[in-house]
Symmetry: C2
Subunit: 331 residues, 2 copies
C-alpha cells in the first residue's frame, strides 16, 4: 500500500448557494420546510427564486464545504462532483480549486444547469434550503477517478447524493475501490429525509462493515436507529461503526472511536448569523484531527471551532484563516 496522496477525497453535490435573508412570513407564505433541505424541480426553483429577495451566490454543497474547511486547515483534498458547462459551474469549479482542492470531474454539456440551493435565512439565523440538483444528480460512475479514490486516506461521502441513481452507483463503486486499497470510508447522513428514503441501504452498509466513520446529528441518529434517545441510538450502533460522531447543534457533540468516548460543548459565540454549513464544517474539523491521528477530544474541538466560525457569517465557506484560528484556540 503506497503512501496516500490525499488526506480526504469526497464525492458530493456540486452546488452554488443562492442566499438571501427572509422573513418568517415569507417562509410560511411559500410553504417551505423550515430549517430543512427540500429537493425542488426547475419550476419550483424558479418560483422560489422569483419570491426571494436580493441574494448573493457563494459556492456550497455539503461535502464540498467540508473539503474547503479541511483544505483551509492544511489537508490535501480532492473533490468529485458534477457541474454543468455553464457560468455557475465555472463559479463552483473556481471556488473549490481556489482553495487548493483538486477537482477534475469534467463539466456536463447541455441541460440541466449546475445545481443551486436557494437558501432563505430567517432572523433566528436558521437556514431553509431548497435544492435544484440540476447537473449534480447526473454524476456518472464512469467518470469516477478510482486511482484518486485509492490515493486518499479517507473517502468522504455525502448522504444527500445517495438519492439520485447515478451518483449512488458512483459512490458504491468508490466504496469498493477505497476498501480494496485499505482506505477508510466516512459517511454523513445529511438529512432525515434521505434516511427515510434510503435507511435500508445505509443500515446495510453499516452492518456490512463498510462505514468506518459515521457523522449524524441527533435527529438523523434517531431516524437511522429508530431510537429517540441519543444514548440508545449510540448503543444501537455499538461495534458496527469504528468511529461515530453525533452533533447536537448548540448542545455540542459526542464521538466514540474504537470504544473510547469524548464530548465537547459548542464553542461560545457572540452572534449566530447563518447556520448554513455548521454540520459540514464540524465534519471538516473532526476529519482533520482524525487523519492527523489527534486525540479524539481534539478532533471534536476542531469540529466545534470550525462550526462556530461558519455560523458567524453568511455562507458555508470559511472566511478566516482556519489554520491560524485552530492554532489560537487549541494553543
Amino acid at each position: 500500500m503506497t503512501e496516500p496522496r490525499y488526506d480526504v477525497i469526497a464525492i458530493g453535490n456540486a452546488i452554488v448557494d443562492v442566499m438571501s435573508p427572509a422573513s418568517d412570513d415569507l417562509i410560511e407564505e411559500l410553504q417551505l420546510n423550515r430549517g430543512g433541505m427540500t429537493l425542488v424541480d426547475a419550476d419550483r426553483a424558479k418560483e422560489l427564486y422569483d419570491a426571494m429577495g436580493p441574494a448573493r451566490e457563494i459556492s456550497g454543497g455539503s461535502a464540498a464545504n467540508t473539503l474547503a474547511g479541511l483544505s483551509a486547515m492544511g489537508a490535501q483534498c480532492a473533490f468529485i462532483g458534477q457541474v454543468a458547462d455553464d457560468q455557475l459551474g465555472e463559479v463552483f469549479a473556481h471556488d473549490i480549486r481556489a482553495v487548493g482542492i483538486d477537482f477534475d470531474t469534467p463539466p456536463r454539456a447541455g441541460d440541466p444547469s449546475t445545481a443551486r440551493c436557494l437558501i432563505f435565512v430567517t432572523p433566528d439565523a436558521q437556514r431553509t434550503m431548497n435544492t435544484f440538483l440540476g447537473a449534480s444528480q447526473f454524476l456518472p460512475p464512469e467518470v469516477l477517478n478510482t486511482e484518486a479514490v485509492q490515493a486518499a486516506s479517507v473517502l468522504y461521502l455525502e448522504g444527500y447524493l445517495w438519492d439520485p441513481e447515478e451518483p449512488r452507483a458512483a459512490m458504491r463503486r468508490a466504496i469498493e475501490a477505497a476498501r480494496a486499497a485499505g482506505r477508510q470510508v466516512a459517511f454523513t447522513l445529511s438529512e432525515v429525509f434521505v434516511i427515510d428514503r434510503h435507511g435500508d441501504d445505509f443500515r446495510a452498509l453499516i452492518n456490512g462493515g463498510l462505514i468506518d466513520i459515521l457523522f449524524a446529528n441527533h435527529l438523523e441518529l434517531a431516524a437511522l436507529t429508530g431510537e429517540d434517545e441519543i444514548e440508545a441510538g449510540i448503543a444501537a450502533l455499538k461495534g458496527k461503526v469504528p468511529t461515530l460522531v453525533v452533533t447536537r447543534s448548540s448542545e455540542g457533540a459526542v464521538a466514540i472511536r474504537n470504544g473510547e468516548r469524548a464530548e465537547v460543548p459548542a464553542e461560545p459565540i457572540d452572534e449566530v448569523v447563518d447556520t448554513t454549513g455548521a454540520g459540514d464544517l464540524f465534519a471538516a474539523g473532526f476529519l482533520y484531527g482524525h487523519v492527523k491521528d489527534e486525540p479524539l477530544e481534539t478532533c471534536l474541538r476542531r469540529g466545534a471551532i470550525a462550526a462556530c466560525e461558519i455560523i458567524s457569517h453568511y455562507g458555508a465557506r470559511t472566511e478566516v484563516d482556519l489554520k491560524a484560528l485552530m492554532a489560537e484556540k487549541l494553543g
Copy 2:
C-alpha cells in the same frame, strides 16, 4: 407635464461583482491598478479570475447600486442596462427586481456574457476592480424606453458607461428625452480614466447646461476642471451645474445647490470592511433627499449614512433596512 411615475431612472452597467479578499502581494503580482477600476478583456478576466481566491457573487454596477439604495429608502426607480441571456444575467435581473426596481431591458442573446467585475479587496478594505464589460457595452439606443425616461423626476447616468459607443448614444438620446420632458439629468463622473478619455464630452454637456446634478469625488473634480485644489475646482464649475456634489472619502462631502453650500463629515464607523459602492450609495442618499425636496445638508447626511452602511460589509448592495436606518440617524 404629467406627474412623474419614477423618482429616478438610471442607465448603467449591468454587472455582477465577483468579490474576494486579496493580499497586497497578489495585487502587486497581478500588476493591478490598486484602488481603481480597470477595463479588462475576456482573456485578462480569465487570468485574473484564475488567480483570485474563493469568491462570492453579488449584483453590482455603479448606477444599479445607487438605485438599489434609493429603492431601499422608498423611492420609485427604474433601471436600463444590458445583460446577456445567461445565468449571471438572470442573477442581475433577479436582484434588481427583488428590491422593487422596474427593469425591462431585454437580455441580449449570444456572446459576450453578462458583465462581471472582479473585485480584489485588500486588508485595508480598499477595492481594486477589474471589469469585463461583456454584454453591458452593447446597450443599443433602440431599446431605450423613452417614455419611461420622461416619466422620471431624475435621469441618472453613470460615467463608466460613456466609454462604449452604443450606450453612449443611448445616454445622449435619454438626455434629450429627459430635457424635452422638463426632467433633471444627474451624472456621476465615475472614474478619472473615464474623464481622461471623455472629458471633452463631459465639459460640453456641462457647458451646454445639460447636467443638473453632478457627482464627483475630489480626484474626478480635479481631472474635469484641471484644478488640483478642491475649492478651485468647485469655483470652475460655478454657474454651470445647478447642483454639484463632491465627495472626499473619509473627509466627508460638500454640495452646492443653486448657490447654497453645505458640508458634512463622514459618518463614524467601527470597521471599514470593503469600500466597494461607497460613492454609489452616497449618490443614493443624496438623490433621495434631493427628489424629496429636503434641505441640502439632509441630502448630504443621507449620502454619508448610506455610504457608511455599505462599507461596513462586503458588497455594494445594502444589507440593512436603509429606511429605518435613516429614520434612526436623522431623527
